[in-house]
Symmetry: C2
Subunit: 542 residues, 2 copies
């Protein structure tokens, strides 16, 4: 046996590390893998922040993105918005500290939810170009510029070259230089990212200046500011024992009963009394700080036995049926489309979410490839396009699990079809830190499936109508050719005028024919509905 090394020797090398050191070493986990994806990730993070800031401040967003090629593999990106800006004393923490921000701890639907993205951009700039990012911020009260880097060992911001610039600028402008990146007009490139952002944010005006100087505008198609995301409290059904204890132990309420009313949505004094009747062995008068694990477990089990009003709809901000229709029409101009927004559901017991979906068919729907047009899935999480890691995403899994043949689509991959799905929630369970795929929670997959099948039902009718119309047109033309010949022959036998015989015959045919058409339509509809119902039942049973 080889000589052994002791624990003391091994643990001489024991050290602690900062989260920024971790992501510096594993930047692929933030989306910085591959030259094209890395550049798209920068734009994704900055645009997401701009949209969130504008939405929270109640401002109609105007965002411009300028990309320049500095050298082979080196590009600069400037992102400018008309949002609320960042106060000077917080700009370092907001853009150059990993895991700091306003979003992580609040129950509010926003695109960002971690406090990692913007700091990740700053770090990616400094480790690939050696340069700080340049920030210009105007809050309306003050405007200033500064350079920012992260001290990676300590995860602290370094602010330099700070200067006030009067009060002419309102909003936030961020400029960075990046190495190991590439601008490419592909499915995973910035152009496509912004096109999809425009699709899911019709209230937003986006301008892109490409490296070759070409300017692309995605104008807004509606001028309503989306309702501000509403801060909410957690729903009792979304709470585990450990969550309840965390809330209780940091609560300022005097009693367990008032703590529950103060902390959760949908909990009234009456509800607490209902709970008290079920959960006998917990003292509702004691201080919440003194709650034990066993007691909290009993309360959580008690929650599950009560009837609850569904979580508050107001906390969820969707794109909206009309808006989706308008933008699908603008961008894909399909021969057919169907859009469905379903009611909010919950996952993991009580976290509310809502699914919107749309199907576009024909026109510019689908994805152009060298082998022809293919079916495509446009994925969105809180209105943010998800361009990467589709194979592990709940949306792809749901759409791919649908038996498309039942809806008249022989091979999803070979048809001009776009399926768009947006999942909105106060908390979207992303599968990775880079937030490009939604984790495969069964409730979310089922709801997406039902929603897309809802659209697919309309598509099925459209396709079967098209088929019927084509078939009927063929039949009709065939019959009419016979009618004409028949009229000629009858005219010769009876010496009546061909025209009048033909007219009479045509009337008879038209009358019978219309009736036939209606009947065929009805039976096709019924067959479609039956097939769809069968699949819906299967989905619900899964």
């Amino acid at each position: 046996m080889a000589t052994q090394t002791s624990a003391d020797d091994i643990f001489k090398e024991f050290k602690e590390h900062s989260i920024s050191q971790f992501f510096r070493k594993n930047s692929q986990m933030l989306g910085y893998s591959g030259r094209v994806r890395s550049l798209t990730t920068v734009v994704h993070e900055w645009v997401t922040n701009s949209l969130d800031a504008c939405e929270e401040a109640g401002i109609l967003p105007e965002i411009s993105i300028e990309i320049k090629e500095l050298a082979e593999g080196k590009y600069s990106v400037r992102n400018t918005d008309n949002g609320p800006g960042i106060p000077p004393k917080l700009v370092g923490k907001a853009l150059a500290t990993v895991l700091a921000g306003t979003k992580f701890h609040r129950y509010m639907q926003q695109r960002g939810q971690q406090g990692i993205g913007a700091a990740g951009c700053t770090m990616f700039a400094q480790i690939t170009s050696g340069k700080p990012i340049r920030v210009k911020s105007g809050t309306g009260k003050q405007a200033f510029e500064c350079d920012l880097t992260i001290d990676i060992k300590s995860n602290k911001p370094l602010v330099t070259n700070s200067q006030e610039i009067g009060n002419s600028f309102k909003g936030l402008s961020v400029y960075g230089e990046f190495g190991d990146v590439k601008y490419e007009n592909s499915d995973h490139g910035i152009y496509e990212y912004l096109r999809r952002t425009a699709l899911s944010n019709p209230h937003c005006s986006i301008k892109l200046t490409e490296p070759d100087g070409k300017e692309v505008a995605f104008p807004r198609s509606i001028s309503d500011v989306p309702k501000r995301p509403k801060l909410t409290k957690p729903h009792p059904l979304g709470i585990g024992t450990s969550d309840l204890l965390d809330f209780a132990h940091s609560s300022a309420s005097r009693k367990v009963s008032s703590f529950m009313v103060d902390t959760f949505t949908r909990v009234s004094q009456n509800k607490v009394d209902e709970l008290r009747a079920i959960v006998k062995d917990v003292d509702f008068e004691k201080e919440p700080k003194l709650l034990t694990w066993a007691e909290a477990e009993r309360l959580v089990n008690g929650f599950k036995q009560l009837k609850w009003i569904a979580p508050d709809l107001d906390t969820l901000s969707t794109i909206g049926e009309e808006q989706i229709k308008a933008t699908i029409k603008n961008i894909l101009n399909p021969a057919f489309m169907s859009v469905v927004e379903r009611k909010p559901k919950v996952f993991r017991g009580g976290i509310p979410f809502v699914v919107e979906s749309g199907i576009a068919y024909g026109g510019s729907a689908g994805r152009e490839t060298t082998e022809g047009v293919k079916g495509t899935i446009l994925r969105f999480g809180n209105k943010v396009p998800l361009l990467f890691d589709g194979s592990v995403c709940a949306i792809s899994q749901a759409v791919n699990s649908i038996d498309w043949k039942r809806y008249g689509i022989k091979d999803f991959d070979q048809e001009p079809i776009s399926v768009m799905v947006n999942v909105s929630s106060v908390y979207i369970p992303y599968s990775g830190v880079g937030k490009q795929a939604i984790a495969q929670e069964p409730e979310i997959i089922e709801e997406i499936k039902l929603s897309v099948m809802d659209c697919a039902r309309s598509l099925q009718r459209h396709i079967s109508n098209q088929k019927n119309i084509n078939m009927q047109a063929t039949k009709y033309n065939t019959i009419m050719r016979y009618v004409s010949q028949l009229a000629l022959n009858l005219s010769e036998i009876t010496s009546e005028k061909k025209e009048s015989i033909e007219k009479g015959l045509k009337e008879v045919v038209e009358k019978r024919y219309r009736k036939l058409v209606d009947e065929e339509q009805k039976s096709a509809d019924a067959a479609a509905a039956a097939s769809d119902e069968a699949q819906q039942e299967e989905a619900a049973e899964e």
Copy 2:
């Protein structure tokens, strides 16, 4: 327009968060998603740590895992090893602090590389069962027991109920209780995880006690301690500008020239002189602390123009060709197998890695399903089985991109074939924190593809031999039936004995037949080699 909210109001809610708070909220990113996967993740983290500790200490590992069902959805896990143990003063940091450990900052091939896994288990125990983990550790000098939890807000360990227990126990035993989990004997379950761990760690003895009390043993198939992972220095070709600056700014060397010799592998004084001849505008006598980005960039570009000896093989610890063969035979007992270990390569310029692969065909190879046996890919990173997220893994992508028809496999998904791939490196670029898939680095994918194709070439010969043997056996039997009949007829005409005629005829046939068999074999081999060469060239060009 809606009323606007100011930056000051928005940023009132600004907060910083700890890495443990982040992973408590996003535990799915650590692998805690789904009941079965969550329980497997616990075992994965603890077993991985045991194997690393034993390897570093030079101990032949004996690991036992005991799973008990406590209630519906609640299980306990105990993992006991005979490793070096953890010194008392570090046990809290090692098992209950996210991002602390001995692995993150060292250039050494180990299974763990982040300092997240074990702390993740502790956190998962406390948030699903409310209970600390119970640790027993013996270093040979001291043995003790204690309870451990993480203070999630501060990411600090809380050690309670600590007591010395004499010196009878050597090793580490960790016990935890977990909610929201499930034991299941499936492709993603603990049994399969340990079976694959045994496959890739033939020196390890593993015992599993299942919840129903059944004991399963995976005995070791070799008794050599694997060579201890060697600490190495980074190779100059694996270094970016930012890395070089980081090293330079924290270096104790007096001059840039000596700093380079001290910091990197394969850099001699001669190499520095070669570099000096190419990179004119850097002062090699100045202090490394004073190196600028521009200078570091010039040095990195200079590195690329020099010829370098390949990275040190000793830093890479593989399973080994013979060991893989032994375990494949033990576990899959296939009709055919082929194993290949290729030379180390580098990715991202200079991070060394090595690929081992094996193909098993027939016998118990492949994956049993209700629809029959299917082809399967067994993925390993630094000898650790990767059970999840296969669809985004470099290994799957490489194996699926092979044109299997060229190797006699008509449909990979329908044949009794197992392809095993182990990637070893000081740094494996995992796609997520949960370390279940290798990021799709082009150099890694290409090398895996070449390695598997190497094995597939032997498989092709085997399959074509089998076909020939079958075909020839049929021909031979047919001819021999005629020979017997012919001998009878000749015997009747010539009055010679049938037996002697038959013997003569058979000798003639045998002689001719053997010659034919040899020729057919040669031409089949030549065709296989030509087809494979064509694909290898294609792969190398990609």
